[in-house]
Symmetry: C2
Subunit: 335 residues, 2 copies
Amino acid sequence: MDYIKVAVDAMGGDNAPYEVIKGSVMALSKNEKVSVVLVGKEEEIYAGLKQYQYDESRISVVNATQVIGFNESPAVAVRKKRDSSIVVAMKLVKQGEADAFVSAGSTGAILVGGLGYIGRIKGVERTPLATVIPTEKGGSLLIDCGANVDARSSHLVQFAKMGSLYMQYFCGVSNPKVGIVNIGTEEEKGNALVKETFPLLKECRDINFCGSIEARDIPKGNFDVIVCEGFVGNVILKLYEGLALTLLKKMKEGMLSTKISMLGALLSKRSLKKVMKTFDVSEYGGAPLLGLKNLAVKTHGSSEAIEICNSIIQCVSFVNNNINDKISECLTKEI
Amino acid sequence: MDYIKVAVDAMGGDNAPYEVIKGSVMALSKNEKVSVVLVGKEEEIYAGLKQYQYDESRISVVNATQVIGFNESPAVAVRKKRDSSIVVAMKLVKQGEADAFVSAGSTGAILVGGLGYIGRIKGVERTPLATVIPTEKGGSLLIDCGANVDARSSHLVQFAKMGSLYMQYFCGVSNPKVGIVNIGTEEEKGNALVKETFPLLKECRDINFCGSIEARDIPKGNFDVIVCEGFVGNVILKLYEGLALTLLKKMKEGMLSTKISMLGALLSKRSLKKVMKTFDVSEYGGAPLLGLKNLAVKTHGSSEAIEICNSIIQCVSFVNNNINDKISECLTKEI
């Protein structure tokens, strides 16, 4: 049987390597088509693996002695730390020894490494990070949420196309509704970038462009693909996280402020937890860096085993659905 | 006695004119230094005023037959509707017949009208809209939240200075901490605009610049003045509103999903409402358009009487604290 082989950065994220190892073992039992290469300090990895029973033919270990931290300059770290888990894993993908890459490590290093080692699909100008954010109706794809700054209109058009293909073939949304983040819904509103991009999106026959979306309406979930440049996208993603956390904290404080409401809190705790879970950005699995020759998935820095597992399984679906071929086809046909 | 005379757009906002009239009457009793000129369709205003008892010497009415709607092009509307409540009220300010202006109407029209009729303070390059947004520690001033797009670094530096003065002299925050919205906290992070602005802010001796702030940390309230260009600021402000509403809605649904949690909801309702109120953007009064020769305050489109009242009283404090003189002094001393 041909497995989809995923190179996993065992040293990336706050809970590495143990949650990463645990998540990798989980992935094997959840999806029979996947095999994992754990890349990182082999002693630690073997020590971690010892705790689990798994099909040894489907997990291999590749040693990498260095780790790239969150606070390092990505460009410098990728250049200098040739034996880091990110660089070694990327090389495996480059050499065809793995089909995809998963890491909970530095987004910047994954981006720099992805561009340097895996490379862009022909025709792709920029590789956006795409994240599914929770909404009232399920989830919308936010693209780009921070891989590129100072994007041009042609980049945003490609983001719209790649995002549409991802939502259609990966998430199963037919004819996904595409919107561009704007400061008003009328066509004449916006900054120079949005004003330039809007008519280009309107002309696109490959996508179902439905106009501008104000940030106020993002949580309502009326759009499937939300296009913006990376600075704005990063602000949206981070504010989503921060505001949800703060509101939850304030509510807890509020509910614990009187004896009666404490009792109320106790009774409604379970239902509330369920709701908050549907609104937790980290529940939505990894964020693919779209437009690379092979898939690279960035999972939340604080990922636990279940998120690592989901991100690994995500790779199987991405590869099996030939999403990269579809991106390549869509973006090169006009060149 | 010399009153601070506030020209109030009686026709602006979703609840005009009745809530505007009610709020104006409230302001008189809450602050003895204020007088109000209600500008709009006089018949409607007089009919509304009839319901209240008030000191007639402190409320006057100026007729204006037209209204500028939320969906009109601001530039066209201000140019063509010379007898609209916004334009007539702005003219009163220009002619010295009023000291400040308050409206719950179209932000764009207030901006265009403010620039055209009231005019910028000498030395001010752009007039930002500044809004206090709720945080865990109270509130932070978000500046610019949408008055200008495609700002330059020199504009952002002025926003930082004006925002600092506002927080210091209007909100009573000594040595306000200034941060710039960024996609990371390291100095080398950011888009071209932020990278260019960062060293300029660092050099500013007039402000207490404390570096970059990620959107995730905005709700924590560690900064008093949060500087960003208007597109990003508008996204932050609107997402704040939208996400809080959606989370509240989801929580309600969650709490009503089982009988036990319904009982819990009943018991904790009061405490929860209190918490949500502290996180409601519209609770924080009006947003001043800083840098105009006279104060123009934009209040939320859905403002009710209490918000109109607060915005009117805000004008008294702004004028009495000579904030415009301080802005003028601070911004011209380097020219």
